[in-house]
């Protein structure tokens, strides 16, 4: 009897342990810092796989830099300070959001200026056309022909 109970007990114990399982461990130790780091890393460029953000890249340098950012944040540095830290070492290239400085005015204000310019040009063009194309009334002959044509037109799509 005992020789059968022991294996059975072991099996049951193993099953119980399997069913229990644990909650998975998040990769970052401090969730608040982790979230801040990942949000910032979404705006930074990976220098190795240059088409990915620092948040998404699996490259070793990216993992190192993410760790570096974690540590800087734990020391109390702000997002801006972390960005400056990286820019000092890698240049503006590492920022996916180009800094706003005189060199980037065209980039940041260009679309807005283009929009205002475009709408103004459209507005002026339409007003000009209105001036140039005053509607002329039809004479009686033309009016008759127009009515005749309209009545023979069936179901023309608008």
């Amino acid at each position: 009897m005992p020789s059968r109970i022991l294996p059975l007990a072991l099996v049951l114990l193993t099953l119980a342990l399997c069913a229990a399982g644990r909650e998975a461990v998040p990769v970052g130790q401090d969730p608040a810092i982790e979230r801040r780091m990942m949000t910032l890393a979404q705006e930074l460029r990976c220098l190795v796989c240059q088409n990915q953000t620092l948040a998404d890249s699996q490259a070793p340098l990216a993992a190192d830099l993410r760790q570096e950012i974690r540590e800087l944040m734990q020391k109390g540095q702000s997002d801006e300070q972390v960005k400056q830290y990286l820019v000092a070492r890698y240049g503006d290239f590492v920022l996916y959001r180009p800094p706003l400085k005189s060199q980037t005015w065209l980039l940041w204000f260009g679309p807005g200026v283009l929009l205002v310019g475009g709408l103004t040009a459209l507005y002026l063009a339409i007003l000009r056309r209105r001036r140039l194309l005053a509607d002329e009334p039809l004479n009686p002959d033309q009016e008759e022909r127009a009515l005749a044509l309209l009545s023979e037109d069936e179901g023309q799509p608008s």
Binding site: L47, V48, Q50, P60, L61, D64, L65, E68, V87, A88, R89, Y90, G91, F93, V94
Partner: protein, 176 residues
């Protein structure tokens, strides 16, 4: 006169073409260093050959020197290593190595097989000093002057052409 505005799209396009043409000869992948003409970041690291000995940046002030970032796992480093070994023999400028993200054993074995052009190699296993120097792809090489200011960064392997055209003239100028 109003006909001139019909030429605007064409004019804009020609300007664009000019930029695109220029762009064909530029490599968009290289990340130039913002540290040129700035002080070389300070470091104090143990040496690869001897974990008991350290080397700091300040100890290297007063002379022009090269910092070559390498690793035993780096394939392109093999290409430039022979060039470096030969260059070191000429004695034009001392070369110090930065062993990046590596293990001491692998590094020593590598140097043993391929030759050691370095006065000393600094051991940077977690790449922290590398990050301070803006290293993003091995191999990279820095030319640092007597005041400890970075004057030039070579991204990618050193070739005889680069030595001849850029590094040696610069070193001579800095030594003068």
């Amino acid at each position: 006169m109003r006909y001139l505005r019909y030429l605007i799209p064409l004019a804009a396009f020609l300007v664009l073409t000019g930029f695109l043409f220029k762009g064909l000869w530029i490599d968009p992948h290289t990340v130039p260093s913002p540290l040129i003409d700035k002080p070389a970041p300070a470091f104090r690291l143990t040496q690869v050959a001897d974990a008991g000995k350290t080397l700091s940046r300040d100890e290297l002030l007063g002379k022009v020197w090269l910092l070559n970032v390498w690793a035993s796992w780096c394939v392109s480093c093999r290409e430039e290593h022979a060039v470096l070994v030969d260059f070191a023999r000429t004695g034009v400028v001392p070369i110090y190595g930065l062993d990046y993200e590596d293990t001491r054993d692998a590094a020593m074995k590598w140097l043993g097989t391929l030759g050691n052009p370095y006065q000393a190699s600094l051991f940077d296993p977690d790449g922290r000093v590398g990050i301070d120097y803006g290293v993003y792809g091995v191999p990279e090489t820095y030319v640092i002057d007597k005041t400890g200011t970075i004057r030039y960064k070579q991204i990618g392997p050193i070739t005889p052409e680069v030595l001849h055209d850029k590094i040696v003239p610069l070193v001579r100028k800095l030594n003068a």
